[in-house]
Symmetry: D2
Subunit: 371 residues, 4 copies
């Protein structure tokens, strides 16, 4: 057991989440590496100082280079806007420092390819923040699939729908002003990664995108919305399974509907992140008249649950996923082994996003290999 100095770039939503996780992870999981909250960086000096105070960091800075270059920083967590990911990661890798980067990895396939190359050249741990695949229930789903309990997957239906932009009167914001911050660029990556984790690589797809509300009110009156409000695609996985994925930020009533229904030749699984402590499983072959979906509440016998609580059904929450992620990143740093999802896995998500755009633009099926 030894201490490791960690620097966090970004002090917003995810910057805070990672800070809390760094504080808690050692006590929850008894990790070999114990993170020290060494420095936090955000765009203003005062803001950074305030974040350091609030989240319990030793020092702060408004310059990410200072953080990356600091000798006490042994690992870097990037939780700043997407457009900054590539440069910060490159700087850290150049110094041989492991990097955890929030999703989506790069702004483009090209960006992500460069980041994967930089990570490979550095030969250090690299990981992307697709946290939802780390809930105990979804880890359990992966175990069940890997063990063949539902047979061969033949259909994968999934969605990531929220409603934070539902209603024509919801005002414009940064997400409506950047083409890459739409539903496809912002929400879809989580479930595209989830699809990969649960059903394997995608071979080909056909997609549709739509901006439902073409203008929204900004500070100076109506302004155009340049990003998509909803997106969906059909696909074939490399395994031959059929897939159907839907994404929306205008799905009235869906608050965190990261959800999937997986049909296999021997059974089925269903999950919705809004009820993240239950996984529903239908095992084909149950006694006649006694079959049905089983509501399995997560508990100590399921992956990464016990360190949070000894009782089944007591439940884990959003913050706990980030703690699990922190444990995995520390393990990657410690062992030097790749821990899924690596930057290379993050690149795969960018490729699917690009394939979706291409399919929509050309109104045709697209092979992912084209990207």
């Amino acid at each position: 057991m030894r201490d490791i100095g960690v620097g966090v770039v970004g002090a917003g939503y995810m910057g805070k989440a990672h800070s809390v996780a760094l504080k808690a992870v050692g006590a929850v999981f008894d990790t070999a590496l114990r993170p020290v909250c060494e420095m936090i960086c955000t765009t203003s000096r005062d803001g950074a100082a305030e974040s350091a105070r609030a989240f319990g960091f030793n020092r702060s800075t408004d310059d990410w280079r200072t953080l990356v270059n600091d000798p006490k920083i042994e690992a870097v967590v990037i939780a700043s806007p997407q457009k900054t990911h590539r440069e910060i990661a490159a700087a850290a890798f150049a110094l041989g420092k492991p990097v955890f980067c929030e999703k989506p990895l790069g702004e483009s396939v090209e960006d992500s390819r460069a980041m994967v190359a930089a990570a490979a050249a550095a030969g250090v741990a690299n990981m992307v923040g697709f946290n939802y695949v780390r809930t105990p229930a979804t880890q359990l789903a992966r175990q069940i699939i890997a063990a063949g309990e539902i047979g061969r997957i033949v259909h994968f239906r999934a969605e990531h729908c929220e409603d934070f932009l539902a209603g024509a009167e919801t005002p414009a914001n940064w997400r409506t002003r950047s083409r890459s911050a739409g539903t496809l660029g912002d929400l879809a990556p989580h479930m595209i990664n989830g699809a990969h984790a649960l059903a394997g690589p995608i071979d080909s797809l056909v997609a549709d995108l739509q901006t439902v509300h073409e203008t929204r009110n900004g500070p100076d009156g109506p302004e155009p919305v340049v990003s998509d409000d909803q997106a969906h695609f059909l696909c074939r996985f490399e395994s031959g399974a059929m897939g159907s994925l839907t994404f929306s930020r205008v799905a009235a009533g869906r608050k965190m509907s990261y959800a999937y229904e997986i049909t296999g030749t021997e059974g089925a699984l269903m999950f919705n992140q809004e009820d993240q402590n239950a996984l529903y499983m239908y095992p084909l072959g149950a006694p006649r008249g006694r079959d049905g979906f089983v509501k399995m509440l997560t508990g100590p016998e399921h992956p990464d649950y016990l360190p949070f609580c000894q009782g089944p059904g007591h439940g884990t929450g959003y913050q706990d996923q980030i703690i699990i992620e922190a444990r995995d990143f520390l393990r990657a740093v410690e062992t030097g082994e790749a821990v899924w999802p690596t930057f290379a896995d993050g690149l795969e998500v960018n490729r699917i996003v690009a394939a979706v755009r291409l399919s929509h633009e050309q109104q045709r099926w697209v092979r992912v290999a084209e990207i």
Copy 2:
């Protein structure tokens, strides 16, 4: 109030359901026309006689022409195999007799076009048995949409999934031996009609089909499966709304998952036929912190519920939909007015099915207008 002699062709699953409905409909709804179960027809003389006895018909026959031509038969219910629909309907229409025909209407677009023409030439009532749109909950959904309570529909996701052919070891049957009896031809018509009822006509679509188990055991060993096990498509409705529909007969655990999620600009609706007495609605604009999907249990204030029961939450079932259908057909006969879904509506379903096949064969988006 007067009696009307009805003949039923077919004495299987749906033949029985319509027989029960004809017995009960007058007492439930106090209809102006009171059906008399005059004659039933099935392929063997003994079977027909036995069905007449069991279901309470006055007479029986093994020749549908005898039934159609019988002077006491004033209206015909067709519940025989799909390939017989066109000829029987034509004969009835030629005699000016109204026809209720089970879904799917004709075997092909051509068949259904001919049936629509024959109905138009006869100028009598004609209706297709898409019963699921008649549950009180789905009628309520239509009311809510028509009243603008969820605003303009922007996304329509639906499925009709069952699992009667899940598992590789489930043996071959008539559905696996006929291309038109696959999931697309057999299950999908219900929800394609439902999509039309709830979200309006479809403009264009892109589809994928799959036979998951390419052979199944028959009486003489493995035999090829010539129909699809699962199908799905993306579409754009004429309104501009996006759609995503999924169909399966191998969806382990889904027993009667005729289900939809409809997203509008002012709210959303969710329904699953497996819990047919609840409609979930999310109204945008509920007080902050008190919003959520409302589970509305069907009750006397909802369409066609009260005649079955005065208490809310007591529930209607499958057979009750058929009784509602019978009421509507009798009303069409009585008034001469078209009652939705007419044969013309049935034809629209055939066109979508044909468009799905074309899209799959050519791996491209298809305009329904091409069909």
Copy 3:
């Protein structure tokens, strides 16, 4: 197969339900006795004639004696107010005619005892309308319990809660003006019978009753409410199992919450009539980490489902329970065998109701044997 003339006394909520059931039952179940809707009786001559026309009876009367004495009437269905039950049943039994009587049987234990005696003296079929124990799901629950699948019952929690009198502003009606028409007298009998059906006879109990709204608006202003709005009791069953039952007519939001949770030494069952096509079962001994409540949708393999529909998950409704009841009554008439629940079973319910009142009045545990 032969016809049997049936007379129905009462043309309200349940009178209509039984009329529809008599029309449909033969076609649904292929019964040996085919009911003929011979005569219906209600309090006005015009009302009776109108009901006969609407429900399809041959004749009508405003005098129940005319109906009972009519030679074509071979069996009597009593669906008139509770206070009339005893006298009508007595007259029918005196003529040796079988009687189906709506719940609750008699107005008092004394009434019901006399009715049981009259039935026994006549030696003919007699049955009480506790329809909810006849849903396929609850019949399945009884099968599961009888087969020992959940072991020995150790706890039985149940309720029958509705909200038709929720809110202080809901006006007075006949239920608020009669002590016996409160929640205990009116709603509780269904679940008291259900408790007996599922967990066996009750040995002793301790109860509490309450009138929540002591006055309600009547046509002439506020008037006192003389019946209870809510009631609950703890009990011990003769088996030693513990029980807890709750009843309410002011349970805001509960529309038809006839619900139970049954805990056994080997598993558990859960049910709510608001979702009457699902029974939830937890079997102790499922594989570690794969256990949970199984949502079993009713289907053709479950009791009395197949005659209504060949597909699982398609569902039965309220009216179907009454059809099942009619089938059972016809069977009792045909065979002369007692079909549960007989008048004697109806008396048991009255005894529990009386025990609850006594317990509440004396604020103590009461042995049912005291009644």
Copy 4:
């Protein structure tokens, strides 16, 4: 903002939970007092040292007196067995140190009375670990009730059921060997406190207890079970509302069924800890035909949710409740104000437990004032 040295007595289930909470609470909530994990105590020296290392404490001891007396310890968390609570608390209070004590407070009413007196004499912060009332959903329920949104409470039904001792073959353990560690003594306190929090003080009750499995296998063969397996009681609250509470450790399938249904004159609430991120509310007065229970997913607008996550529906978990508790205890220490539930509230729970035992022994209604 200043540091405060905290000592934790006990390193089991709850000792770890509090340790993690102390690590995370400052970063989550930006508390004025920042806890320093100064010392942890458990019964063996090696165990204590190992816990200190694993959970991140500065020092360890196997003697709670060392911990309490240490000058750097400014506040004490008691998470050791119940029988030790009184003595440890007394020692801490004697030194003027604030105490957080795990539930149940004392082993008996007498114990708890002494602890309340000691706390009062010291005049320092004191709090009991009834964590479940701190989930955002249950805090929301309390807000809704306090604001009068469901009117006056008329019925409160609740349970705390688990199944860790379901099945006759589950072996004996410490809970089966101590009368006070049964369902009533061990599980019930959580919901008794919850009842108080949600519906106010209880006036009187009548109860029943049962040991379902009278012997269980121990290391030397079957041994008697001296504590209750299940318990339930009816009550009247001081407000006049009726209550019904059920507790079980043999409730097959119920993993963490800390659940309540609260009926008011203007609406109702439902909650189950197994799905802790949803609160169901039925508001009386919704538009006719659009009413139903609303599934409200917890989100940033609800109490104590936002510090964990900015997105609604993302969810909090078990460990987060303990973090909320830590925040509240720190606030009590900081301000000197009582933060509910204090030791006095813990005593109230003991009194109800004692009243339940008395009622069961004497088979009668008991006024809580008798205790």
